[in-house]
Amino acid sequence: MLALAKVLEANWLFLLKALWVTLALSLMSMLIGLGLGVAVAVGRTYGGRLADLVLGFYVDTMRSIPILVIMVWGYFALPLLTGETLSPFLAAIVTLGVHMAAYVAETVRAGLTSVRGGQMRAALALGMSQFQAVRTIILPQALVRVLPPMGSLLVVAIKDSAVASVIAVPEFIRQTQVLVGNTYLSTQLYTFAMVVFFAISYPVARLTDLLYRRVAHLGAS
């Protein structure tokens, strides 16, 4: 314990920076996942058969390939095709986001279809365009309704960001490994990393549940 305290005292800034990278990875990949995922969900629900087929193929592909494989492919193989080299950080954010988007899309789609069809018909009867109806009536209700599963997905995003250590993004686990290499305190440092991750992810799920109880009435109809 004393040895761990010494290492932490000497390296707290190093670890704080790593924690910052982990949080940036999780939040930015979640933002990409949200933007892309909502677009895919709307496309699948209202875009007709062909869009549903193509986007469904994308979603099922992402559901069947591990994030590690997608990330490694995006970082090492994709640049050979495009000729553009990505930094590890950027490659991690993009691949995590594209992976997350598939899960967000499935969740949002469930929310969209849960809003009764009469609301769409009423909106159309009032002279709204379909896009307008989705944007102002259906989607806001759907997003409120799927808030709890979105909280779980945010926890998944935080946990998945750990995979970026494999392509040497200097996030928390990678930097913990570096410290283990310098100090040989494997047990203490990995246990410490576990506690840190728990302290971040556990409250997120609880906080979204709390938030949901505040706004649940906005999704009821």
């Binding site: 099922d60 069947s64 494989v69 490694v72 090492f76 095709l81 750990a162 991750f197």
Partner: protein, 219 residues
């Protein structure tokens, strides 16, 4: 640029062995994690507070921390705690089983709690003991209800086995990364790896969707 797909064909026996290990890890982990999840669910439902707390702590901890970290932890800490030299495959199995057991626990618990209280009361009124009541009345219904969730966990587990490559377990992604560094045909080898995962995982994802439709609970 030129592609040389022959390197993939030449490494086919290695790839095949990798696929075998991936499938083995998935099946073996699930075989441990179903009884493990059931046990944890029972412990969380027992009316003994300290037991409940311990089981809850275990479950929440494994659900809230990254699997990558759990695997490293098992790899470095398990030998020190138990004083045993265990192989990488055993370590991977322990790590994966603990993780999936925690998720299965919540699935089973939700299933058990979803069976209405009246059924338990009726069984008790008929003179059944708690074990008989669980075995013959509650569990058969609960398991059927949570089948879709278990199927989803199965696909997640299949994907998560790729993460044990970090401790050099020779499953599909570890083998592919090794073939890549042996041959330097990065694009071909990594694409083959992604394709193999896709070919294995896509039918499973579709099967899960079918199970979700087929076994949906309508109250």
């Amino acid at each position: 640029m030129t592609f040389d797909w022959s390197v993939v064909w030449e490494a086919r026996s290695q790839f095949l062995a990798g696929v075998g290990m991936t499938v083995f890890l998935t099946v073996a982990t699930m075989l441990f994690a179903i009884p493990g999840g059931l046990l944890l669910a029972f412990l969380r439902l027992l009316p003994i507070k300290p037991v409940q707390w311990l089981a809850t702590m275990f479950v929440e901890f494994f659900r809230a921390t990254p699997l990558v970290l759990q695997i490293y932890w098992a790899y470095y800490v398990l030998p020190i705690l138990t004083d045993l030299r265990v192989s990488a495959v055993t370590t991977a199995l322990v790590g994966l089983s603990c993780n999936v057991s925690a998720f299965n626990c919540e699935t089973f618990r939700a299933g058990i709690l979803s069976i209405r209280r009246g059924q338990v009361n009726a069984a008790l009124a008929l003179g059944m003991g708690p074990v008989q009541l669980m075995r013959t009345v509650v569990l058969p219904q609960a398991v059927m209800r949570v089948l879709p969730s278990l199927a989803s966990t199965w696909v997640s587990l299949f994907k998560d086995t790729s993460l044990v490559s970090i401790i050099a377990v020779p499953e599909l992604s570890y083998i592919a990364l090794k073939v890549r560094s042996d041959t330097y045909r990065i694009l071909e080898v990594l694409t083959a790896m992604a394709f193999l995962y896709w070919a294995l995982g896509f039918p499973q994802a579709k099967l899960v969707d079918w199970i979700h439709r087929k076994f949906k609970v309508v109250e």
